[in-house]
């Protein structure tokens, strides 16, 4: 039941007002209340993008658990004091699981978790861990590696571009993997990046895309945009484009190269199960092809079939662990060596990645 | 007995508790120039608005050519044959005369131009149809307004204080026009409070006081004193005769001041020279728009001159051209501007707060903080001593009638005991009782040794209170004339620029 207002909800509010918020949890338990799960995201849910993917994941939880869970979805919550207050409020309202859908919620969400030991928190993209606090992230770099292979195959200019939100490790590593994948097909490929420093500013994102297209890039990686701003511009101008999280195929019916979709359902289902069984334990959840969280899809028919075959093989190897994206030798943009022949970079190197591989032409902002 | 053109019986109109018109009876015959005479606030304007359909009466009957009518808009009134020229013109300055007229009167431009010329010749209303309105004098603009009314062939023409904006010579010309109109069968309702004019041109006069009719007479049978008594309900207060006195030190001197205002429509001033002593009253005569506003700002300090020209304005023994308004007041200068609302007083503020506007230096502010008790005391004194009719010091200035507000502002400035007092248009729109009181105060200031400078359009007023007058015309100031040596016509000549020459 995703409906957030019903008769019971109203009675709860009234009861809370009358009895004081402190009595609520006890009351809820005594009545065998459903598990309250709240999702807080910084942008509108919309019908595509990051927030949308998180919401879709929760829909699977509802499909599985039905009336035993009660979902509250809150969109457009700015990071900072407002988010802190709202997270406190959802917990005071009796929710026992909190999905904090943005890195910027980290401090506030951690405080809430500390004050409420019976609360389970899933926090997107962060690095803090606590017994009831799990940071989660997708191994997008696995998907972007495959996209890089496809991009190099369809590119005529040998120049690829990426409109990217922030120079944080998650986005940096996905650009590096994209570059490595492209180099697997065309060793001379070049990748240019424009950092727009926003998660949500369609006009600015489109401007950045136009700049890349003007420089001759003919495949664009829309990295961290929650709207089809970049995707639709590329369809208009005839450049291939792909993005993460959820498919935007309908915004670029001819030039959509593919999607590195994220399906959070397996992770959410597992977390809810753990919480209900009382063995939720905070850990770093770094999820990729193997967990079914990363799901490449909507491959464009223009990709040559022999390349497509290689992509499918590579995806299978990445899934079963027989291959790793960041396997040496990897040269850094500045000429240094990131990994020697045969060395595989560990997760700790990937989640703190603050350097570009050779082939990325734009310097990383420091 | 012929049917009268307009007949009014028992017309009444109230605004809240104020009875603006109470049971007014009025009959206007065909071919008559009929005066409506009364003080400010007597109900003249309300009555005209009722006739012209701007407002609806609460009670009463209006008959037009014997038939009862009730016009509910000016358009309906015009259709009946009633035209009106308001005191404040409604012309667009950036359009030509014919363009302005074509906004209201249908017809092709060429045809309109011909008609404007014809009407002008017929009634002495000559004006260039192609001229832009901003280039016209006030008299010419009034002619345009009258022509515009005549284009609709009215049987009755209402003129609201038509002479208040005109120089003497133009008044004579207007009267000639009105007589010609009357001779062609157009009746005229002539609103005024100027008794001599009414005696000169009108054949009937209906006198209003406090919203009611106090008399219907033939003004030619009565002298001005009779009419004034009917108008104000008591004998006209006489001014004390000007006492002989010795002028003291120079309080204000302008030595050939040239000035071009920032406003492109402003009147540049050229070689303006005057000298005013303590203990005398100097009047600046002339029609507004000839540089009065520009001169007033230069003297008040609202417009300042650059440092190197500071000596062109000598005020109370100091070169003051570069001093701002506050610095000049600190020298002992006080000023009553012609605009009372928004300049001399803040409409949204109470009288008490308006006291503070300029009287803050009279001990109403201590260590940066307002002394409310002293402010209240000062205000109460001003209200009492200057007979300001108001519910109390907390009333907003914007709620006062023009005359009462003027009494308040003049009172405030006089209470500052200035050595140089400058009053622009002291009695504009002020009723005759209040005007007399204000003039008496100004003379008293002079007698107490202050220098008093007056700008006024009303020559009679200047002759009453001034020792000397100079005339401002087209930005030039005439030489000084001793009032006891000259006649009104001498001033009039300067007002139309007929007496050039004679160094200032």
């Amino acid at each position: 039941m995703t409906s957030t207002l019903n008769r019971r909800g109203f009675l709860q509010t009234t009861a809370a007002a009358a009895l004081g918020a402190g009595l609520m949890p006890a009351l809820a338990r005594a009545q065998g209340e459903p598990l309250g799960i709240a999702l807080v995201v910084p942008s509108p849910f919309g019908d595509v993008g990051w927030s949308h993917a998180l919401a879709m994941g929760l829909d699977q939880v509802v499909a599985e658990y039905g009336d035993r869970v009660k979902i509250t979805k809150l969109e457009n919550i700015p990071e900072g004091p407002d988010a802190d207050r709202i997270m406190n409020k959802v917990v005071a309202d009796g929710n026992k699981m909190l999905i904090a859908g943005s890195f910027g919620y980290q401090n506030g969400a951690m405080q809430v978790a500390r004050r409420n030991p019976d609360l389970s928190v899933l926090h997107a993209s962060g690095f803090m861990v606590a017994p009831n606090f799990t940071p989660f992230a997708a191994r997008n770099y696995q998907g972007t590696y495959l996209m890089g292979m496809a991009a190099a195959a369809v590119s005529k200019t040998g120049k690829l571009g990426s409109v990217s939100a922030f120079a944080i490790p998650e986005l940096v590593s996905s650009i590096n993997a994209f570059t490595l994948g492209a180099q697997a097909i065309n060793p001379d490929i070049q990748v240019a990046v424009v950092w727009v420093n926003t998660w949500f500013d369609p006009a600015k994102e489109q401007e950045a895309a136009r700049a890349l297209l003007a420089q001759g890039c003919d495949v664009i990686y829309s990295n961290g945009q929650d709207t089809p701003s970049v995707v639709s511009i590329c369809e208009e101008t005839g450049a291939y484009v792909f993005n993460l999280n959820s498919s935007m195929l309908k915004y670029a019916p001819t030039k959509y190269l593919g999607c590195v979709a994220t399906d959070w359902a397996p992770f959410f289902l597992q977390s809810v199960k753990a919480h209900l069984e009382g063995d939720f334990e905070g850990h770093t959840a770094y999820l990729g092809l193997a967990e079914g969280v990363i799901q490449p899809m909507d491959w464009n028919a223009d990709i040559p079939s022999e390349v497509m075959t290689r992509i499918t093989e590579t995806q299978a190897q990445l899934t079963d662990g027989s291959m790793h994206v960041f396997t040496g030798p990897i040269a850094r943009q500045d000429g240094g060596e990131a990994a020697a022949e045969g060395v595989i970079l560990g997760d700790e190197d990937i989640v703190s990645m603050d350097w570009h591989v050779a082939g990325v032409t734009t310097p990383l902002p420091s | 007995m012929p049917v009268p053109l307009l007949s009014i019986r028992g017309l009444s109109k109230s605004y809240g508790a104020v009875h603006a018109n109470r049971g007014i009876d009025l009959t206007v015959e065909k071919g008559s120039i009929h005066a409506i005479l009364g003080e400010n606030g007597a109900g003249k304007s309300t009555l005209m608005k009722l006739i012209y359909g701007v407002e609806s009466p609460d009670a009463g009957q209006v008959s037009w050519q014997g038939k009862p009518v009730r016009p509910t808009s000016p358009a309906e009134a015009r259709k009946l044959g009633i035209g009106m020229v308001f005191q404040h013109f409604s012309l667009f300055e950036t359009l030509t005369v014919v363009e302005n007229i074509s906004l209201i009167v249908p017809g092709r431009t060429a045809a309109l131009v011909t008609r404007i010329r014809d009407l002008g010749r017929e009634y002495g209303l000559e004006v260039d149809p192609r001229a832009h309105v901003h280039s016209l004098s006030v008299g010419e603009r009034q002619r345009v307004e009258i022509i515009r009314c005549l284009m609709t062939d009215p049987d009755l023409l209402i003129l609201d204080e038509p002479t208040s904006v005109l120089p003497q010579q133009s008044v004579a010309r207007l009267f000639d026009t009105l007589r010609r109109l009357r001779d062609r069968g157009v009746s005229i309702l002539f609103i005024s409070h100027k008794l001599e004019e009414i005696r000169a041109i009108c054949d009937h006069a209906t006198i209003l006081r406090d919203g009611a009719v106090t008399g219907t007479v033939d003004p030619r049978d009565h002298d001005a004193t009779d009419l004034a008594t009917m108008m104000i309900g008591r004998d006209m207060p006489a001014l004390p005769p000007a006492t002989a006195h010795k002028p003291g030190k120079v309080a204000l001197e302008l030595a050939g001041l040239d000035h071009t205002p920032d406003d492109p429509f402003g009147q540049p001033l050229s070689k303006v020279a005057l000298r005013l002593h303590q203990g005398e009253v100097l009047g600046i005569a002339g029609v507004s728009g000839n540089g009065q506003a520009e001169l007033a700002r230069l003297i008040s300090g609202e417009v300042t001159l650059p440092d190197h020209r500071a000596a062109e304005v000598l005020m109370l023994g100091q070169a003051a051209g570069d001093l701002g308004a506050a610095a000049r007041r600190a020298l002992g200068f006080a000023f009553v501007p012609e605009e009372r609302l928004g300049r001399g007083a803040v409409p949204e503020m109470s009288l008490a707060d308006n006291t503070l506007l300029t009287a803050h230096r009279a001990g109403l502010v201590r260590r940066g903080m307002i002394d409310r008790a002293r402010e209240a005391q000062f205000t109460a004194t001003c209200i009492r001593d200057f007979d300001v009719r108001t519910p109390g010091p907390r009333t907003e200035a914007g709620a006062l009638s023009g005359g009462n507000l003027q009494k308040f502002i003049v009172g405030r400035e006089i209470m500052l005991a200035p050595r140089l007092l400058f009053v622009s248009q002291p009695t504009w729109g002020v009723d005759i009782g209040a005007a007399t009181a204000i003039r008496r105060r100004l003379v008293a200031m002079r007698d107490a040794g202050a220098a008093v400078l007056i700008i006024s359009e009303e020559i009679e007023e200047l002759f009453e209170i001034c020792d000397r007058v100079q005339v401002l015309n087209a930005g030039r100031l005439s030489p000084s004339m001793k009032v006891r040596d000259i006649r009104v016509e001498d001033v009039g000549r300067h007002m139309i620029g007929a007496a050039e020459g004679g160094a200032a």
Partner: protein, 360 residues
């Protein structure tokens, strides 16, 4: 104005009684309008209003959040009101707020290990200075070049946002922060002491209340405040009396900048605890509404800031507890404002019925 036989007539003086009644009428009217909206949306209006209007007032945790939210609004609106009275329209409080936050943050960013009881007062003072400095630019442009302060202050806000971006993606980025655009987390002594135990309400609320008293004295009792008001109501009268227009511009912008700077400092040193992009969350713009809603009067602004804070917290509550979409929350906030502006007209004007025709 004449509509169907009714017209507005100016009152002799503003009605004090209606000045108090008008906000209440506006509130009731907007509740009535939105009641219908919630019914149409299939929401329970009683539950929505319970969450939106009642709970923030009667629940202590929620009310403490109201006080926290009210603090920056109160600070900024009091400062802006002084300028608005003088018709110096500073709509760039957002930028001055950001500069206040930046100046205050300089202390913990440059000295992350700093400690001492004097640290947070220093940050508050620096914040005020930062806000004022940002207001100096529009003041100079207005006084020297006669450039509209409305445009310049607004533009300066955009520049301030970019300056904040630059600092956070560049020199002031937390070296341990994985490239996220935010500063280090401030040490304890660089955050404001809490004054209500168990809540996030900090000493900034006290500062805001003291600031309100100061503004009241300045605007209602000082001659300078009076001069500002004259300049706003009747510029010609100010010129006639010889009040300096330049000084009015300077004072207005400096007071507004100071207030916004204080608010920015107390926000980073208060509930946020670090410099981040999200500190620029629109307080500077909301405070404009608060200032006008409070009738530009220091006492009124205390109430209007409280009201707007209640609406914010209540809006959040309505989203969380009553499932109201954010757009519907904004509709309520907007309709309240419109109703208030309509109601406030009656404080200065009264409605008069025009009699029709002649009753002979």
């Amino acid at each position: 104005m004449n509509l169907a036989g009714y017209r507005l007539a100016r009152r002799d003086k503003a009605s004090r009684k209606l000045a108090v009644v008008a906000p209440v009428v506006a509130l009731l009217l907007s509740i009535a309008l939105n009641f219908a909206l919630y019914m149409a949306m299939g929401k329970n209006p009683v539950a929505v209003f319970q969450a939106m209007l009642i709970e923030p007032v009667i629940s202590w945790p929620a009310f403490s959040e109201v006080l926290l939210k009210m603090t920056p609004l109160l600070l900024i609106a009091q400062g802006l009101a002084a300028g608005f009275r003088a018709k110096v329209i500073n709509i760039g409080a957002e930028g001055q707020f950001i500069l206040g936050a930046i100046f205050a943050s300089a202390v913990p960013v440059w000295f992350p290990q700093i400690s001492g009881l004097w640290v947070w007062p220093l940050m508050i003072v620096l914040g005020g200075i930062g806000g004022m400095l940002w207001a100096v630019v529009p003041a100079i442009w207005r006084v020297r070049l006669n450039a509209s302060e409305i445009l310049v202050t607004l533009m300066m806000s955009l520049i301030a946002a970019q300056l904040l971006n630059f600092l956070l993606v560049g020199p002031w980025k937390d070296p341990m922060g994985f490239n996220f655009p935010q500063s280090v987390i401030f040490p304890l002594d660089a955050t404001l002491p809490l004054i209500l135990p168990g809540t996030r309400v900090n000493v900034a609320l006290a500062i805001a209340l003291i600031w309100s008293v100061a503004c009241w004295v300045y605007l209602q009792r000082s001659f300078q405040g009076y001069q500002l008001m004259v300049g706003g109501l009747a510029p010609q009268a100010a010129g006639y009396a010889g009040y300096s227009q330049s000084r009015a511009v300077w004072m207005s912008l400096l007071i507004g900048g100071l207030a916004a700077g204080l608010a920015g400092a107390s926000e980073v040193a208060g509930p946020v605890g670090q410099l981040q992009r999200s500190i620029a969350s629109g307080y500077g713009y909301s405070a404009i509404i608060v200032a006008y809603l409070g009738g530009l009067h220091p006492v009124g602004i205390v109430f209007s800031s409280l009201l707007i804070a209640i609406l914010y917290i209540g809006g959040d509550n309505a989203m969380v507890s009553a499932g109201l979409p954010v757009a519907a929350v904004r509709v309520f906030q907007g309709s309240l404002l419109v109703c208030y502006l309509a109601a406030i007209t009656l404080v200065r004007y009264r409605v008069i019925r025009e009699p029709k025709g002649i009753r002979a």
